[in-house]
């Protein structure tokens, strides 16, 4: 059963078509990867799904419910969360504060201006669980700005995960992470709970093929091929796109 | 009615000459310079000293005011402003407000707090009477001088290589640098030139706007309105905004004198709500 569907999703910036008629279904619990050459519109699709951009046309359904008109914070409440290709972190907060903040919002305490952060025991408990899962416990009281890049990248995912999403979008989670810090990150991604549906954008084919159970290829804003990893890997059209061969077929 | 239009045009064109430097530097460096009016004041006082005290002819006083303030502007840019470009807007605001305060107090100390008048040659006093409309000679001079300046500016910007380099830098600073344009130098020259124009405007406008040490504070909001409403992507926008503002202000003060500048502020806020990047800005201004 599809948890997230898009129907004819399109986005134009002036005359430029960033996404055209994207109709996509993401199965519940799937590990779904979205790949494609530069400028194919992958990040645009995530921006549309998460509510950062408003589509020019088309609809987005979560569990069959139309969420096209909702703001990004409303979509988070319904169980969608995302990470960003370029870190979008709270540099002056500590990782713990940032995680606890996401928790508090989830528990509906966001307008509580009288009690302490973490006053509710569950916030502290779950925050502890998350800093542990994302290997942030040893740096949880440091300012985010001074963390090593790999830790920041982990926090990027931790913040999304702290929203307890049913659908999680990861936008190039491994980009820019130095080799030495890479393993921890990849292991964490691989260990995400199975009941969380993941949509992954990634250029690193090692990561894509070791992680995904379904792959969609986007070219020039349009869905090009959609299938199981081995099908996609064998598909001559996909090879052509990636290797720059003629597309006469 | 036509007199209002005439006076408003003179006022508006004056505002344009005063503010256009600010608009270009804001567009180029995304730098909020609230102290722009201080250069205008410097030009005004420079003319007062030259013309009234030393006895330099008025016609020579104006270009000298331009040169002096351009020099002052260039100097400040190289020594002070250059440290603040990369800072946050809050820092820029604090820094330039600090400069305004200093210039106000320093001018008060050196020149006294009373209003100053530039001695204008007799030939420029009085009015022409054209079709029954009284046109002040001095205001006519302002329109002519500012008109010529506007044309010259437009020509420099559109026809010279410096102009195209400047526009290229405003369009895309990073790529302009990568293609060999020394953006820092282009900016320095532009800043000095814009300060010079403000100085010239201050000299010309002392008669109409009044010249006292609080000048930079009093007119700060007007310059900012010209820039925010006119946008920063060229000089046409600020020019039209200046004319609108000039005519609107003169008309407002004539028809609803008790409300003062209320109308102008209300219009500004309305414009900024509808078009946060200015009335004449192109679609994707920064």
């Amino acid at each position: 059963m599809a948890i997230l569907e898009t129907i004819g999703l399109a986005k134009r910036f002036g005359g430029i078509v960033a996404a055209a008629d994207v109709t996509l279904a993401i199965e519940k619990g799937a590990r779904h990867a979205l790949i494609g050459p530069n400028g194919a519109g992958k990040t645009t699709v995530i921006n549309l799904l998460s509510g950062v951009l408003e589509p020019t046309a088309g609809r987005i359904l979560l569990d069959g419910r139309d969420i096209t008109a909702l703001d990004s914070h409303q979509r988070v409440r319904l169980g969608m969360a995302r990470t960003f290709q370029i870190n979008q972190l709270f540099l002056d907060l500590t990782p713990l504060e940032a995680v606890a903040l996401a928790m508090s919002e989830r528990f509906g305490l966001g307008f509580d201006c009288w009690r302490l952060v973490g006053h509710k025991g569950a916030v502290a408990d779950e925050a502890a669980e998350i800093v542990e899962r994302f290997h942030l416990a040893d740096v949880m009281d440091e300012r985010t700005a001074i963390l090593p890049y790999g830790k920041q990248r982990l926090l990027e995912i931790a913040l999304a995960f702290a929203c307890r999403p049913r659908v999680l979008f990861l936008d190039e989670p491994a980009a820019g992470v130095p080799q030495a810090e890479r393993h921890e990150l990849l292991a964490t991604i691989a260990a995400l709970p199975a009941d969380v549906t993941v949509l992954l954008i990634e250029h690193d084919m090692d990561l894509v093929f070791s992680f995904a159970d379904r792959i969609s290829v986007l070219v020039n804003g349009a869905l090009f091929v959609d299938g199981a990893p081995d099908e996609v890997a064998r598909d001559p059209r996909v090879k052509a796109v990636y290797l720059g061969e003629e597309l006469d077929a | 009615m036509l007199t209002i239009l005439f006076d408003g045009t003179a006022y508006g064109m004056l505002l344009f000459v005063l503010a256009c430097g600010l608009s270009v530097t804001l567009g180029l460096m995304n730098f909020i310079n609230l102290a722009h009016g201080a250069f205008a004041m410097a030009g005004g006082y420079c003319t007062v000293v030259l013309v009234n005290r030393i006895g330099v002819p008025f016609a020579l006083g104006l270009p000298l005011a331009f040169l002096a303030t351009a020099l002052l502007g260039g100097l400040c840019e190289r020594t002070l402003y250059v440290h603040v470009y990369a800072r946050s807007h809050l820092d820029q605001v604090l820094f330039t407000i600090g400069l305004v305060f200093m210039s106000v107090a320093a001018t008060d100390y050196v020149m006294g707090s009373s209003q100053q008048f530039v001695r204008i040659p007799d030939a420029l006093q009085g009015q022409f009477n054209v079709f029954g409309i009284g046109m002040g000679k001095y205001r006519l001079l302002i329109i002519v001088v500012c008109g010529v300046l506007t044309l010259a500016l437009q020509l420099i910007l559109t026809k010279t290589r410096f102009g195209s380099r400047l526009r290229a830098a405003v369009d895309d600073q990073r790529v302009a640098r990568g293609l060999g344009i020394n953006v820092g130098a282009v900016f320095g020259i532009t800043f000095a030139f814009g300060s010079g124009l403000a100085g010239l405007g201050g000299a010309l406008g002392a008669e109409i706007l009044g010249l006292d040490p609080t000048f930079p504070l009093k007119y700060m909001i007007y310059f900012l309105i010209v820039v925010t409403v006119g946008g920063t992507s060229g000089i046409i926008g600020p020019f039209l905004a200046s004319l609108l503002l000039g005519i609107g202000d003169v008309a407002g003060k004539y028809y609803v004198p008790t409300l003062g500048a209320f109308v102008i502020y209300a219009i500004m806020i309305a414009v900024l709500i509808v078009r946060p990047h200015g009335l004449f800005a192109r679609g994707t201004a920064r």
């Binding site: 530069n38 720059g244 | 290229a168 990073r174 344009i181």
Partner: protein, 245 residues
């Protein structure tokens, strides 16, 4: 052939992210190098670092034997780095002609010669940059780098997003510039097959490091290497992440 561009242990990135970690490469006078690799592997960062618009972390760049590491981007352009940026970045409020004259430097490449190379641009010389089609923008971006009369051209995905007919037109022009005029160049491209016909040598970048270097002709024939480094198939032994059980 004397060495024109020498890069030693260059590390660079954006903000805190180190995208390139100690890349070395050299380019000889009159040589054209194709820079291949999947997206996000540091190709554009390498180009931008030679131009000087990234954050520098370490290493050395020398042009004609002179160290240019400490030069500002505009100074690098003056000593001979000609840049065709990835997004083309045409100055939109300048006309086609002004886009060329604003940056032109004296040398064999004049605006007239650019117009001869791209007759379409001559037709549209008075149009604003914002009014050009994608293909015309790309031609202008190439022309704009040519009138700098650079020692080395850096072209960042010049064929990206162009219609097939325009790809052919642009490739023909690149061939003229590189093959006939002997201009030294580094060309970043996704379209490996196409660009290998223009370049002498090719290198493949993966995660900010060079993983494969070969003659163009040899690489074009080496289907396995192309697939491994550029295709979508899983490459050899898996590193890092494990599949879910």
């Amino acid at each position: 052939m004397p060495e024109l561009l020498a890069i030693e242990q260059l590390s660079a990135g954006y903000g805190d992210a180190v995208v390139l970690a100690g890349v070395s490469l050299s380019l000889n006078e009159g040589e054209a190098l194709a820079l291949l690799g999947r997206n996000g592997m540091g190709k554009t960062t390498l180009i931008n670092s030679i131009v000087g618009v990234t954050r520098y972390f370490g290493g050395k760049i020398a042009l004609d034997g002179a160290d240019i590491t400490a030069l500002r981007p505009d100074q690098r352009a003056h000593v001979g780095v000609g840049w065709v940026p990835q997004e083309r970045n045409i100055f939109r409020s300048l006309s086609v002609h002004e886009n060329l004259t604003a940056v032109a430097r004296p040398g064999p490449w004049t605006t007239d010669k650019v117009y001869a190379l791209f007759p379409r641009l001559a037709e549209r010389r008075q149009n604003l940059g914002s009014q050009l089609s994608g293909g015309e923008q790309q031609m202008l971006a190439v022309g704009r780098a040519l009138v700098l009369n650079p020692r080395v051209m850096l072209l960042d995905e010049p064929l990206e997003g162009l219609a097939p007919i325009l790809v052919e037109e642009l490739l023909a022009a690149l061939r003229r510039v590189i093959r006939d005029e002997g201009t030294s160049a580094i060309v970043v491209e996704q379209n490996a097959k196409k660009i290998l016909g223009v370049a002498d040598r090719a290198i493949i970048l993966e995660r900010g490091a060079i993983v494969h270097a070969a003659d163009s002709a040899a690489l074009a024939a080496d289907r396995a290497a192309l697939e491994r480094h550029l295709g979508v198939t899983d490459s050899g032994p898996r590193r890092g992440a494990r599949a879910r059980p």
